[in-house]
């Protein structure tokens, strides 16, 4: 049987909550992968609110990640404020209070880089709206390890800097609107990972 995508990692910063809500709202109840999200946030203790906000708009359960929690399909995990979120080779999540990366903790690069080494070609990485360049190294690593990479179309992003930085850093597979990203993810259960790496910018075939 052909290999299927196992995990989706998403990174978002300024304007990210509404972008995430738009995508998550489109995921089906039987979504066959886990979703792990880093959304930059300044204040600690805001996680509960964010998970509730997104949970109300998404058919899947949305929760803050707990250390050593096993990743499960059909669940959306949110990096807690003030911690880096990483994926272990055992398929569990782990946290760290190492110094901020790109002035951010949680950092998108930290999540993406660890997920890339664990999931390889079974990983999808998505960079959304944001005012900095966090995630640009991570998305390149996902690409290097055979994963599928997407960014929100800069023309649509509330703040285009982060998608643009990702596109500058890596040969991104697809540049899509939020609605298209949601549509693509909805279909991943039916589409095995392509044998050959997808061509860059093949947005029309999705």
């Amino acid at each position: 049987m052909a290999e299927l995508y196992r995990t989706v990692v998403m990174g978002a910063s300024a304007g990210g909550m509404s972008a995430l809500a738009t995508i998550l709202a489109r995921l089906p109840k039987d979504f066959p992968a886990s979703v792990v999200i880093v959304q930059h946030v300044k204040e600690e203790g805001t996680d509960g609110y964010r998970a509730v906000f997104l949970g109300k708009r998404c058919p899947l359960p949305v929760k803050e990640a707990i250390d050593k929690e096993p990743l499960k399909r059909g669940i959306v995990y949110l990096a807690p404020a003030g911690y880096h979120l990483l994926v272990e080779e055992t398929g569990t999540l782990s946290l760290s209070v190492d110094p901020p990366v790109n002035f951010s903790r949680p950092s998108i690069d930290v999540l993406f880089e660890s997920a890339a080494t664990v999931f390889g070609e079974r990983l999808i990485g998505v960079i959304l709206t944001g005012a900095n360049s966090d995630g640009s190294h991570g998305i390149r690593k996902i690409k290097e390890y055979g994963g599928y990479t997407m960014v929100q179309a800069p023309s649509e992003a509330e703040v285009p800097a982060m998608p643009l930085a990702a596109m500058e850093s890596a040969d991104i597979d697809a540049v899509l609107t939020l609605a298209e990203i949601g549509g693509f993810l909805t279909g991943i259960g039916d589409h095995p990972i392509p044998e050959a790496p997808a061509m860059p910018h093949q947005t029309t075939t999705i």
């Binding site: 600690e44 203790g45 803050e64 990640a65 707990i66 250390d67 050593k68 929690e69 096993p70 807690p80 003030g82 911690y83 880096h84 990483l86 994926v87 272990e88 080779e89 055992t90 569990t92 782990s94 946290l95 760290s96 209070v97 190492d98 110094p99 901020p100 903790r105 930290v110 880089e113 660890s114 080494t117 664990v118 390889g120 070609e121 290097e144 390890y145 055979g146």
Partner: protein, 285 residues
């Protein structure tokens, strides 16, 4: 694909390096969570301008100075005083009143790193008029971190944030009463140190050193894999007297551990647990 082969080789190299460090120096990082560890080893590679983790083996095993630097890099965590203020508020309201029923209380700050948590606790105990009946043992495996903790000098740039945190803990005074600003540092009052003993203890290899009424270990276990977490949690269960309290970080949990039945939750939100009486062995407080 060859990337996955690379990862396999990297895993092997990492295991060889950690085994070497353990047998050469006695520091056991073999059960550290690998994802964070991998980032720290990448830092070592950049620092020494090396391409492969196996190339670190001769460097770290032969060059004591390089190993000391490695040890420092292994504990570069960044924390605050009164991190997660609501936890300290609950400590004040739910835990300290129970601790006060004991005539004398021993507290272990395990993995205290540079001491922010220890001073936060000392301030809290003082404000609750309880500090003189407490002995705090603050331990870490990293002597350099311990030295910073003992000095108790923190960057002035952080004080604003610490003060904001402190004010959210149900504070009874002013944070400015607890430190002296000098140049660009804030030195914690000497009086806060009077009931603190700083000492070296390695959670990965050392054992119980006393019967405790409260153990504070926040955001330390996240660096360990599940096996080592279980070892350390067993150590805490064995160290606590019946009815003793265990405080973990807000995003840590006993849920996936082997001691889940030994403790009752006091605060699920802030991960405060109490060792239950039924399963307690030996004496009680």
């Amino acid at each position: 694909m060859h990337r996955q082969e690379d990862e396999k080789t990297k895993r092997l190299e990492t295991e060889l390096l950690l085994e070497g460090i353990f047998r050469r120096y006695g520091y056991d990082f073999r059960h550290y969570a690998r994802a964070s560890l991998a980032r720290r080893l990448d830092l070592q590679l950049r620092r020494h301008k090396l391409a492969h983790i196996s190339a670190l083996i001769p460097v770290l095993l032969h060059d004591q100075a390089a190993f000391d630097l490695f040890l420092q890099d292994m504990s570069i965590t960044v924390t605050d005083m009164f991190r997660n203020p609501h936890f300290f508020q609950e400590l004040r309201e739910k835990v300290i009143p129970k601790l006060k029923t004991w005539p004398y209380v021993k507290i272990w700050c395990a993995g205290c790193a540079t001491g922010e948590e220890v001073y936060s606790l000392a301030i809290l105990l003082q404000e609750e008029n309880f500090y003189d009946r407490c002995q705090i043992y603050a331990t870490d495996y990293n002597n350099r971190s311990l030295a910073i903790a003992k000095d108790g000098i923190y960057g002035l740039d952080k004080i604003k944030n610490y003060t904001a945190n402190y004010n959210k803990t149900g504070a009874k005074g002013s944070f400015a009463d607890y430190y002296h600003a000098k140049y660009d540092g804030a030195k914690m009052n000497e009086g806060l140190k009077r009931n603190i003993v700083f000492s070296h203890h390695n959670l990965a290899t050392d054992s119980v050193f006393g019967e405790m009424n409260l153990i504070l270990c926040r955001n330390v276990l996240i660096y360990f894999d599940q096996d080592l977490q279980n070892r350390v949690l067993d150590l805490y269960a064995a160290s606590l007297c019946a009815g003793g309290f265990l405080c973990l970080g807000a995003k840590e949990s006993l849920q996936f551990s082997s001691v889940v039945d030994t403790f009752d939750p006091v605060s699920r939100k802030n991960n405060i647990y109490r060792k239950n009486y039924a399963r307690a062995e030996g004496g009680h407080g």
